[in-house]
Every structure is written in structure tokens, then in C-alpha cells.
Symmetry: C2
Subunit: 133 residues, 2 copies
């Protein structure tokens, strides 16, 4: 019984092979879109259905086990939930990288001038990764 099995059960979700493979794929790839996830899953489950992928992705999002990352001009990718962080996306190859940044100063500024009560900050940088420059 591995880690993902425990987490799934903690949410009263059965640890099916399909779910564990989704978790493993997200873990090893970091960020994947639905299409790539489906392609990857097909290698281990030759008759897996897209419906199963969608049902599980939605279920795991509801249980805060994974998160959707919306990216300008492209499809969303999904990642395992971890501490708050920002993203960098390469406009050329699509590579997505995480970065931990302290946004408390800008958040405070934004909060003060707008009187919003801020509880989340989604920041996505676009540009060119090292390889694509």
C-alpha cells in the first residue's frame, strides 16, 4: 500500500489501479493535460476510457487531491496539490515549471488598494525555457 492509496482512502475513494496510475503519472510528469494523460494511461490500460479519466480527474479535484492550472493560449494542465507556488510556461515547447515565490508583498499591495480579502494568487509567467531560447 503506497502513499497515494492512503490519500485516496482518506477521501473515501477506492484505490483502483486507474486512479493510482493517474496519481503516478501526475507525480512523474509534474504537469499533464487530459490528452497526454490519456495517452500515457493507454500504455498501461489498453481499454481505459476517457470517461474514466474525466470522472477521476473531477473527483480528485473536488477532493483537493489535484489541481487544474489554467494557462494562457493553451489547454489546462493538472498537477498534484502541493504548497502554493507559481508557474512558468514555455511558449515554444509547452514545458511547465514550478517556482516558489513570496507574493506576500504584492498581495498586500493589491489587498490594500482594492479592499479585497485575498486568499489565493495564481501567477503564470510565459516566455522561453532555457532550451528554447
Amino acid at each position: 500500500m503506497n502513499n497515494f492509496t492512503d490519500i485516496l482512502r482518506a477521501h473515501h475513494l477506492k484505490a483502483t489501479p486507474q486512479r493510482l496510475e493517474i496519481a503516478n503519472t501526475l507525480y512523474s510528469h509534474g504537469h499533464v493535460n487530459i490528452e497526454d494523460l490519456y495517452e500515457t494511461m493507454l500504455k498501461k490500460f489498453n481499454s481505459i476510457s476517457l470517461a474514466t479519466i474525466y470522472k477521476n480527474i473531477n473527483l480528485m479535484i473536488e477532493n483537493a487531491f489535484i489541481q487544474e492550472v489554467k494557462i494562457p493560449n493553451t489547454k489546462s494542465v493538472y498537477e498534484l496539490t502541493k504548497e502554493a507556488h507559481s508557474h512558468l510556461v514555455c511558449d515554444n515547447c509547452g514545458h511547465v515549471e514550478d517556482i516558489s515565490l513570496d507574493l506576500s508583498a504584492v498581495s498586500a499591495l493589491a489587498s490594500h488598494s482594492t479592499e479585497f480579502e485575498i486568499n489565493k494568487a495564481d501567477l503564470v509567467f510565459s516566455g522561453l525555457c532555457k532550451k528554447c531560447q
Copy 2:
């Protein structure tokens, strides 16, 4: 001949009443999603088609006249292109507000540690607006 007419023509786009109304709606509302834009447009053009809205939105995005803002957990909204800025979204009422923030420091940090060549930063704060707190 107003301002939007000029801008449209500068992009070799005909200044049709439908296009001018899209521009005016974005101007007066600030941020609108497709559905709301369609509802608003219907008041002036009772037989306007969603296809026309989509065609024009896409055309205007291609011409950098307007921009899509992707928001976590909701539909995208569209806004007239202006200087770079960040957004605040109210999780309760959906209100979207602009804010001008200096992100050069965080961008520099992100760029240095990842070796990305950053050329854009999309930042969306989520929380509660003053009215909804």
C-alpha cells in the same frame, strides 16, 4: 467616427455596428464572458448570432485589440487590451477588478532561478471583494 472605428480600420477590419457594440460593451463593463456579452448584445441586435460574437472575439484577439483572461474555476472573461496589469476576482459575486502592480522583482527572481526568458506575467488573485466580505 469614434475611437473604436479608427482602431478597427487600422487593423483592416470593417467597423460594423456589431463590432462597435462589442468594443463598447467591453469598454463599459470592463470584463465580460461570452454569455454575458451575447445577452448584452441581444438588447441592441435582436437577431445577432453567437457565431458572430465568436468570430469577432477571435478576430479581435488575433489583432491584439482585446484579450482573454483565464480565471480559476470559472469561464474566461474578455477585456480591451491596455497596459499590463493583474486581476482580482471575487469568489462570491464574480466581480473582476484590475490592478497595476510592479512584478519586476518577482519576475527577476523567477527568471534567475529557472533561466526562463520571461516576457509576460499573468496574475489573478482570488478572494472576496469589499461588498462580499
